[in-house]
Symmetry: C3
Subunit: 314 residues, 3 copies
Amino acid sequence: MQFSTPISVNDIAQLISADVIGNTTAFATGINEIHKVNDGDICFVDHPKYYETCLNSAATVIIINTKNVTIPEGKTLLFVQEPFEAYLTLVQHFRPFIPQQSLINNTAEIGKDTVIMPNVFIGNHVKIGSNCIVYPNVFINDYTEIGNNCIIQAGTVIGSDAFYYNTKKTREVWYKKMKSCGNVIIHDDVEIGAGCTIDRGVTSSTIIGSGTKMDNMIHIGHDTIIGKNCLFAAQVGIAGATTIEDGVTLWGQVGVSKTLTIGKNAIVLAQSGVPASLEGGKIYFGTPTEEASIKKRELVWVKRIPELWKKVME
Amino acid sequence: MQFSTPISVNDIAQLISADVIGNTTAFATGINEIHKVNDGDICFVDHPKYYETCLNSAATVIIINTKNVTIPEGKTLLFVQEPFEAYLTLVQHFRPFIPQQSLINNTAEIGKDTVIMPNVFIGNHVKIGSNCIVYPNVFINDYTEIGNNCIIQAGTVIGSDAFYYNTKKTREVWYKKMKSCGNVIIHDDVEIGAGCTIDRGVTSSTIIGSGTKMDNMIHIGHDTIIGKNCLFAAQVGIAGATTIEDGVTLWGQVGVSKTLTIGKNAIVLAQSGVPASLEGGKIYFGTPTEEASIKKRELVWVKRIPELWKKVME
Amino acid sequence: MQFSTPISVNDIAQLISADVIGNTTAFATGINEIHKVNDGDICFVDHPKYYETCLNSAATVIIINTKNVTIPEGKTLLFVQEPFEAYLTLVQHFRPFIPQQSLINNTAEIGKDTVIMPNVFIGNHVKIGSNCIVYPNVFINDYTEIGNNCIIQAGTVIGSDAFYYNTKKTREVWYKKMKSCGNVIIHDDVEIGAGCTIDRGVTSSTIIGSGTKMDNMIHIGHDTIIGKNCLFAAQVGIAGATTIEDGVTLWGQVGVSKTLTIGKNAIVLAQSGVPASLEGGKIYFGTPTEEASIKKRELVWVKRIPELWKKVME
């Protein structure tokens, strides 16, 4: 999430009651979680295991619960007892949840010849290009960006919260919600079927590349990036922070795990489960997925087990 | 389903044109189906195979199509030719379907600081606690109870009818709908993703325990009881009358069959199918599920079949 | 799709700037794609591989990009450079997309005692019979026909566009949408759960037979024909142009591929994947499906592989 203007680290520190250590004159330009961090970003870390990763990331400002680390040159530490709470405070401050009571927010920009049918909810700062059709009962959350010539069929949800929790497992709380302040970006010529759900990024963007076509009831997790000209059949589910490269075909009910990559032009056959990255240009099948030709051979081997028994018993 | 005040068995008998046999001065306090029956309840039975189970259940009043049974002491029989039709008559009488034309019923109770966004439907006698967010296009059916600090994302349906039919397979009718008169109860700190469907109990309650977090497009069947602090990833489906104990994790696209129990803190890996009860504290995988370590070993065995063939052929 | 009155081939030719060859006095009564074509229909073909099939189909009028074929007696060719574009032009002309801004179109016919709850969208020329209940947030697209005594639960989408593209894979466009102009026909006594999506036919009809009951979150593809008294559990997905005969039971999360037939009274167990036609009257399991008894035996064989190894090693 990017700020509309850079904010001084002292102003940030005041919002979260932090001590400023290191570069006290820096400005932050946005907030991101560690997996998506850019130069100028504020990032937070609360576990010693990740201190070094966070300090050495691209982040300019680090919210941290220790003073006992070496500060990389030019960077700023904001010391607080509870970095996670500080993150939530900043999100609430810069991207507050505003309980919108109108259907179409007056900050929304909607292009020429775009048809918005009845009962569509369009949130704060949404941009929709020209020549799109948005069918009834679609929900489009704040900061979503949709290109030109897109079709969003009925009942689809764009920009639902990331399913992303900080696991505490204390007596009072097991799962603490990592508030989402990211968005969804849909490029030109994308078609999304009925009853789909596309989560927004936690702090960054979930992206659907141009020309991609999605059938009904497809779930796309937060921060997942989908290439151009992909084809997803009905009931496909893709977890968070995964990358699907250009031209990938996923047949019906395929499930894809998180933080992996499916290479260009790969094809995954129906009902397969993808637990790890797949090379492009090949056909896959099974749970867990294998190359389809291998998996099919295995199905034959299993059928021939009785024959093998017979041979052994002879 | 509980009555607001106890009803005399004679009043019940009149509604369904029944003969009252046994205790003619009893009062009934509710209606339930045989799996969920409590003291004070009316229950019905129409097949000789289940006469004894029903008579010996906790039910106080039994709607039955025979007089040729021994009545347990203190109980009341209501004799009719068609007990199932009598049940439907009582449901229609005590929980009539009212074609609500407003979005938010004026009997609904909504707590402090709870945000109801546009196009949310809230039925008759719904209670929602404080500090909740209900996103657009959510449907909340009659008698649903939601605790505090809950989030229900866009397009989710709470309290859809049970998928529960009396199989007749006559020429005129194969499946006769068992009308739902139960409800859904959601405890505190529950989050439910976008596009989920949670069926209400047939006569009793579907329950989601406190702290449980559900991703998008999850289906929960009627009368299913989910414990505290469970975590369900997207596209999980759980059939009716099942029990999921506290702290259970179900990964994406897992399917769970009906009337079984998954024990405390069990983890079921993605796309697995659970056909029968699972012990708590273990990790499961596969369709049908096995302990994940065993299932993974089997996958290796299959891969080594050609090696085995080679050995046998030598 | 049928025209309201027959149209002369010359009028059709004018709309798409075609040369009329063969029978110049014929009238067309509708448009259909090659899989669904009837006498009187206009059909299009743009690939030499399919010229003969199309010319010898029941179609009366063939839009084609060659003059170098033998015209079957009495038939009419409409010669254009781009038959697919001509098809799109005709669909846009005869079934234009009209951006409806009211919830219930004034051309809709709704039967006696049918309850339409709030926020239901009903399109152009929809017919709904008597004694139905349509729950909130349901979307019913143009030309849908629903019989008597049907229940459509909340959030369901009826008549979403077919997921059907002409694959081009040029630099500019990979997938070109085959515009849908067909509809959905639902017969009497059908119940459809919450959050389902039923695609309309591309040019013909998607049909749900009488007495069929569908649970929540079920996807039915375009032009699929479902028989009477079928029972589909939650999260079932059926691809396009498939035939499910009477009395078929599909348990939870079953996936069914396109253009196949599942025979009468077949039962497919949960999470199975059906890649090809299945004979009626049997029970199936697995991905790909096999008869359940065979599949279960295979699961046992796999478990006994270590025993077999042991025997071989001895």
